[in-house]
C-alpha cells in the first residue's frame, strides 16, 4: 500500500467516525452534547496539528547546530593538505 493510500484510509476512517457522531447517521440516539462536541472536531485537530508543526519546525531551526569548529578544523586541514601534497609533487 502506498503512503497516499495509507493517508486516504486514515483520513476517511476519522471522517466517517466523525460523521456518524455529528449527524447521528446510525441513529444511535447519542446525547445532544456528543454531537455538539464532535461537530467542530476536525477544525480543532487541524489547528492543533498546525500549531504543533510550527512549534516543531521553529524549535528545530533555532537549535540547528552551527558547526563552527568543524569549519575551522577543515580550514586548518586544507592548509596542511596543500603543503603535504606540494611536497609529494602535486602540481595544480
Amino acid at each position: 500500500m502506498t503512503k497516499l493510500l495509507e493517508w486516504l484510509l486514515g483520513v476517511s476512517l476519522v471522517l466517517s467516525a466523525w460523521a456518524v457522531v455529528s449527524f447521528d447517521l446510525l441513529e444511535l440516539s447519542l446525547p445532544q452534547t456528543y454531537r455538539e462536541v464532535a461537530w467542530p472536531m476536525p477544525l480543532y485537530l487541524l489547528v492543533t496539528f498546525g500549531c504543533y508543526s510550527l512549534a516543531t519546525v521553529g524549535y528545530r531551526v533555532a537549535t540547528f547546530n552551527d558547526c563552527d569548529e568543524a569549519s575551522a578544523e577543515l580550514q586548518g586541514q586544507i592548509q596542511e593538505a596543500k603543503q603535504d601534497l606540494r611536497k609529494k609533487g602535486l602540481k595544480i
Binding site: 503512503k3 516543531t56 540547528f64 547546530n65 558547526c67
Partner: protein, 250 residues
C-alpha cells in the same frame, strides 16, 4: 583467541570499502578530499579504495586525479572517467561496476562531507550489521556550517513535511553521505529514477520499502568551501514534485 592482539582486528576482517567520488569541475577540492580520505583510512586501518568518476570536467579534474594516482598508487585511486555529465544515478552504477570492495561509501567531493566520519560509519554498520548507514545533519551533534536562517528554515520545513508524509525511518533524507553494502546499493540504484535532491530521498525511502536496515551517524555539513552552492526556486519545485511522486508511488 585471547592471545590474539586486539589492536588490529580491522585488517583481519576482510572488509573493503570503496569510496565513490563523482566529480565535475572539482580540480581544487579533489586533492584535498583524497588527502583527507587517505589520512583517516590510514589512521583507522581499514582496507579501502577511492573511485574517482569524473564526468569530463573542462577544468582539468581528470589530470589532477592522474597525478593523485601516481602519488598514492593505482590500487588506492581508481580512475573511471566518463565522457560527459550523465547524472548521479548512472555515476553510481558506473562506479559500482568497478568497485572491488564489499562496502561502498558515497559522498560529495566538494569537502562538505568530512572523511573523519567514515570510521564512525563503519563502526555503526558493524554494530547492527546495518544494510546502510546514513549521515544525518538533524540529530545529535550533527549540524551545518554556512547556512543562513532562510536556508535552515527551508531545510527543516522540507524535512518535517517529508517525515510526516513518508515516515521513512531516517532523519536525513536528502543527505548524500552514506555507506552501503554493495549489493544493497546495486539493488537500490536500479530502482531509483529521480534526479538531484530527490534521488537521495528516493534511495532511503525505497530502502525502507525493501526492509533494509538503516543506521544513522550525526555529521557536520560544511557548505562548499570552493565553488557555488545553490538552493533556488528550481530546486524547491523539483523537490516538491519528487516528494509528491514518492508519496503516491511508494
Amino acid at each position: 583467541m585471547a592471545s590474539r592482539k586486539t589492536s588490529q582486528p580491522k585488517r583481519e576482517s576482510g572488509d573493503k570499502y570503496s569510496v565513490l567520488l563523482p566529480t565535475y569541475n572539482e580540480r581544487e577540492n579533489l586533492p584535498l578530499i583524497v588527502w583527507l580520505l587517505v589520512k583517516y583510512f590510514g589512521e583507522s586501518g581499514y582496507n579501502y579504495e577511492i573511485v574517482v568518476i569524473d564526468d569530463g570536467s573542462p577544468d582539468g579534474t581528470q589530470e589532477v586525479a592522474q597525478q593523485l594516482q601516481k602519488i598514492y598508487g593505482e590500487d588506492k585511486i581508481l580512475l573511471r572517467p566518463r565522457a560527459k555529465k550523465l547524472g548521479l544515478g548512472t555515476a553510481y552504477i558506473h562506479g559500482i561496476k568497478h568497485a572491488t570492495g564489499n562496502f561502498v561509501i558515497i559522498m560529495d567531493a566538494d569537502l562538505s562531507h568530512h572523511p573523519k566520519f567514515i570510521p564512525e560509519f563503519i563502526e555503526k554498520q558493524k554494530e547492527g550489521d546495518y544494510d546502510l548507514v546514513s549521515g544525518t545533519r538533524y540529530q545529535g551533534n550533527g549540524g551545518v556550517y554556512g547556512w543562513d536562517l532562510r536556508r535552515k528554515l527551508i531545510s527543516r520545513g522540507a524535512n518535517f513535511v517529508t517525515q510526516v508524509l513518508l515516515r521513512p525511518g531516517a532523519s536525513d533524507l536528502t543527505g548524500s553521505f552514506r555507506l552501503y553494502k554493495k549489493a544493497v546499493l546495486e539493488s537500490l540504484v536500479e530502482r531509483c529514477v529521480s534526479k538531484g535532491y530527490v534521488f537521495q530521498m528516493e534511495m532511503i525511502v525505497r530502502a525502507r520499502q525493501l526492509n533494509y536496515t538503516i543506521g544513522e551517524v550525526p555529521i557536520s555539513f560544511v557548505d562548499r568551501v570552493y565553488g557555488e552552492s545553490k538552493l533556488g526556486g528550481n530546486e524547491i519545485v523539483s523537490f516538491v514534485k519528487g516528494l509528491i511522486t514518492l508519496f503516491a508511488t511508494t
